[in-house]
């Protein structure tokens, strides 16, 4: 079975064709670089996405966050539920882990310094 994909790894947006046989990737065509190959291989087996959002703080300000690894696409709304249940009560700098293992081994990290 062949699957057509649009690679989302960079703004080129290459159109990739993946050949899948018995649940395993047989060939990947159309990608310009290795990132695209990896993306396509994941996408047909278990699609992954980085989630970016904001976490509220006790001061009412919002701090931007992301998952430091892509999470399972099927779990995005679970991840969002966890993000929205948090209230940050400490200062953070970019890269600080706000919630570990939000989905498997992906952590939620700050993408903004917060200093109240």
């Amino acid at each position: 079975m062949n699957k057509q994909l649009t690679c989302i790894e960079c703004p080129m947006g290459c159109l990739i064709e993946v050949e899948v046989e018995n649940g395993a990737v047989k060939s990947v065509k159309g990608n310009t670089c290795l990132r695209g190959k990896m993306y396509a291989e994941n996408e047909v087996i278990c699609p992954l996405r980085v989630v970016t959002s904001t976490v509220k703080t006790v001061s009412g300000k919002m701090v931007s966050v992301k998952t430091d690894k892509p999470v399972r696409k099927s779990e995005i709304f679970e991840v969002m539920k966890k993000i929205n249940s948090l209230t940050l009560d400490r200062n953070v700098v970019i890269g600080d882990v706000i919630l570990a293992n939000i989905d498997r081994d992906a952590n939620l990290v700050a993408t903004q310094n917060y200093n109240d």
């Binding site: 690679c7 989302i8 960079c10 009412g60 919002m62």
Partner: protein
Amino acid sequence: MKENYDIVIIGGGPAGLAAAVSAYDNGAKNILILEREPRLGGILNQCIHNGFGLTRFKESLSGPEYAYRFIKEVEARDIDVLLNTTVLSLEDNKTITAINSEYGVFSITPKAVILSMGCRERSRGALNIPGSRPAGIYSAGTAQKYVNIKGYLPGKRVVILGSGDIGLIMARRMTLEGAKVLAVCEIMPYSSGLRRNIEQCLNDFNIPLYLNHTITKIEGTSRVTGVVVSKVDENKQPIEGTEMHFDCDTVLFSVGLIPENELTKGAGIEQSRNTRGAVVYQNRETMIDGIFACGNVLQVHDLVDFVSEESEIAGACAANYVLNGRQEHNPISCINGDNISYVLPQKIDKNIPGNVKLFFRVRNTFKHCKIVVESNGVVLQEKKKLICVPGEMETVILSSDVIAKAEGDIVVRLEC
């Protein structure tokens, strides 16, 4: 704040930050950034999604992370910054009048000025739609500010007009926060957004994209209650009988960006009708000596990485102007020919050594085409392209040898 500055930069977003660092590293030492908001970083602060910096840093950063890379560089240098400061006017003698709560209204006349005010959202699309003016109508960028900075959701059931990247990003963002995005309508037969954003912002969440469609009516008196969406013909006129109705409480507009050039206009700086930004030489100097412009105030870029690159040119050249004084210009024009909507820089100064990278956009989608650069009917350079789309800026690099060969104006055209 000091009495005198060599360079004053108007706007502390990605363009202003990169220009400041580059000006400093090229020898200018007396630099001030004026920023309207309470923090540096500009629009990147509300662009919390990732995908920034792939070209420059070879990694996918969120907007605030990308901005911080440059803020750190500014902080590591002796560069002055005034936040919460609004520039009221700029004169052709480079006098800047600004206001803030610390100094009141004040004026500075630096040796060089860099314009880096960025762009704003086009709102014109809103004006042609019949119906009352209820609450619940926002530009996509305003909605982005509400959600990402203020932390509240402006609506629950949303229809988006225009498929520019900010609209697509907001479709996903509002969906993640629990809103239902019913439709994205695009009047053109193609989306001006990046393919990856159609994929990860719409397709991931089964949000329908209606090409060749527009909103023809907004309903509701105090709050939006619904919209009518119609298909359009090839002249962009709504086709009767194609109306679809959506119950919604929110409408977002994402219908393009225009350079923010009130100050530029006020100073009497020549502007291009095509880019709606200043006319510049390849060093990003405007037609007024010592006033430079860079980033989205000059041309709306697709990627912030390119804004940084352009701003570094402006910063370095402003430093050169301050250190070495004004140089004589020997300009030829760069003109957009067939199928090209604009070319930047609009002027090439033959006295400035080095290669020149031309930036331009095509008017339509073209496949298997050729970009031709010519002067006086003589072809200087050609570049074959598999595909060109209006949403993606194109570039051609002209070597100094090629520029020397140009006898008259340079024309860039696309041949099919």
